[in-house]
Each structure stands twice: as C-alpha cells, then as structure tokens.
Amino acid sequence: MRAEVFTDQRLRKQAGRFVWLSVDTEKAGNAGFLEKFPMDAWPTLFVIEPAEERAVLKWLGSADVNDLRRLLADGERAVRSTRASPADAALARADRENGAGRPAAAAPLYREALAKGGPRWAGRGRAVDALLLALGEAEDWQACAREGEAQLPPAARDASFANGAALALSCALSAPEDAPWRAAALERLEGLAQEALQVRSALPDDLAGLYEELVQAREARGDAPGARELARRWWAYLEAASGRAPTPEARAVFDSSRVSAALALGDPALALPALQGSEQALPGDYNPPARLAFLYRELGRQPEALAAAKRALARAYGPRKLKVYDLEASILAKLGDRAAERVALAEALAYGAALPGGQRGPREQKLLARMQARLEQPD
C-alpha cells in the first residue's frame, strides 16, 4: 500500500478528514502503540476515536483506493455515530466490536448488517470481507468457509469478491486436515477462487496471493499434477506483473510470492535472479538477502546461505530480526557447526529478551521458546 495506494493522488481529497499516522511496528519506539492496539497481521489499518483512544475500525490486510475510500467512510461513521442506514449502523457496531479485539462478537453484527443491507447494499462487499476476516481471526474456520460459500456466489466479481474468495479458501486450508467438511469446502471454494483470478480490478499482489491459496488447495486435495500446473501459471503471472511494476519496491512486492512459487515448482533457483535484483535495488532492505538465504539453504548452498543471512541480519531490526537469527541458526545446523549455531541462538535469545513488551507477542514468545529448546539440546 505504501508503494502503490498511499501515493495515489486521487486520495488527496481525503487528507482533511483524518489525522494520518504511519507506524512501522518493528521500531522500538512504536511498542507503546502495539501494547494499546495489538495486531498479528500486516498491514493492519485502524480508525481510532481519539478522545477515548478506541479503535472503532480494524482492517487486516491491504486495500486499493476504492476499498480505502469505503473504509474511511465506514470509519468516520463508526466514530461519529451520525445518520446512517440500518445496515451501515449495524456495520459500524460490528466494526467497533472488531476494533475492540472481539472478532467473535463482531461476526453476528456483520451478518446483521448484511441481512439489513440486502443484495444491493453498497457496503456489501466490504461487510462480507470483514465477516470472513472476523471469523478467521476467531479461528472459526468452518463458519468462515461456509460464509464464503454462501455470500460469494451472488456477489459482483470485483476486488472484494477476489479478496473474499482468498479469505474463505485460507480458512478452509487452516482447518485441521481431518475435519470432515474440509475437502468438500476446498473443492467448492477452489471454484470461486478460480473465478476470482479473472477479476481485473483486484490488486496484483492479491492475485499473486490467490494463486498461492489455490496451489495449496490442490496440494491439500492430493492433486499434485494440478498444483504443479497451477504453479506454472502462477510463475508466469508473477513474471508479467513484476515486469509491469514501475519501481523496484513495486517489483519487490512480488518477491515473497516468487519464493513460494519457485518452491511449489520444485525449483528454488528460479527465484534467485529476481531476489538478487531486489537486493541490489533496495540495499537497505533486509528482506531480499533473507529470502536469498532461505533459497540457498533449500538448494543446499549453505556457505552462500550463511553469507546472505549475515547480510540480512546487518539490516534487520525489530521482532522480525528473530526470524533471521532463526534462519541463520538453521543454516549453521546444516553446516554441522554446532558451536556457531549455539552462538546465533544465544544472540537471538538476548535480542528477544531486550525487545519492548509490545513487540514480544505470542508469536515471538513461541519462536523464542523454540530457539531456547534448540540451544539446550545436547550436542
């Protein structure tokens, strides 16, 4: 969004409606914000009522210009509780519940908004996506998948539909493999996701993510040839989309998908040139060398993997640096250098212990516990 959406000059008219804050969650100075407004998806967009510091709208994931305009209108409504249709008023109540960190309580309110709004309600697409996000956050995978199957088929084939199809498919994939409803849901949702690939108004990186969900769905159904064929189409899409990207940072948006697609094709080396290009073009960014380290490790080229991991460590900051330490330790383990692995793990644990509380959430704690266990393993 920073590269493509917030630079869109069509948004200038919105400037006076809000005070705008950008928060890099990796910076220690932002730990206080994270303590007040915890999050576990990136980006997360908030609308905050300033007098009482309440999040009245919380949106997980990115948004295009049109989505953002809608979010801003809904956020204003949720703050001001001004004149609103019954559907918009219910949506504002749902957003306030969700913003307060109660997605399970928000879900029935989103359903109420959808029922009151009817099929022609302008807020329908946003409300369906918000409902699916809330159910996903609440880890109610079956309800999320079912809502996707129920709400998406009659919807307009727009960016919200593409997003909803990806969300519902993600939910089905996140369910336990032995869930009795999962296989049939995956098959039905895969059909909707295939349709979503044709949506021209969807953000290119959303479509790249949708390919990934589809490949995983085919793998989950045991359709290895189908997954491989789709991965080939995914790679071709990424090549075309990144070829159209106007700036290095816009091209780098596709880097993570390139890594995943190359792995799905069983050819990690395929992604190396693009990642090397990103590292050259974005020398301050730790992501390209970290991804290169991962690819080299998968290729068994451990010395190159280690060098790339060290370059990434020199540039990384914040809680995500723990993942780079973890990667470095895994490479050292493959090299059979237990002493160096122990040093890397100890450094990571000391680094993690020094992070402010707001940056040491459940995910970081889990990772630190895993690294502690590896450190304590006998040689």
Binding site: M1, A3, F6, T7, L11, R17, F18, V19, W20, L21, S22, V23, D24, T25, G29, F33, D40, A41, W42, P43, L45, F46, V47, I48, E49, P50, E53, L60, S62, D67, G136, A159, N163, L167, S170, L173, L203, D205, D206, G209, T247, P248, E249, V253, S256, V259, S260, L263, A281, L282, D285, Y286, N287, A290, R291, F294, G318, R320, K323, D326
Partner: protein, 59 residues
Amino acid sequence: MRLLLAALSTLVLAVASPARASSAPRRPALPFVEDDYPKALALARARKLPLFVDAWAPW
C-alpha cells in the same frame, strides 16, 4: 486486500508481504505523521478528527 495472518503462514520467510521501499518512494498523497503516535493523537484531539493508522512492517 490480502490476508496476511501470521497463523496462516507456512514458511517463515517465503510467505510475506510487500517489502519496505528503501529507495525514494513516490510522493504520498496523504500527510502521514511517521512513527509518532502521541503527536498524531494530540493532533487528532485538537482538530477533533478521527485518527487513521497504517500499521505496517518491513517484511
């Protein structure tokens, strides 16, 4: 929009989101306060405007 819930990620580094632009980005259309919640909150209270927050990470 793309869901980036960490819980859904299967690869530590391969499943991630857009990279941070470290070269000069294009001009933002909105007057963002960078990494200063207290300042933005005070501005929002003074102007009686809601606060919009883009919480992102360089991954």
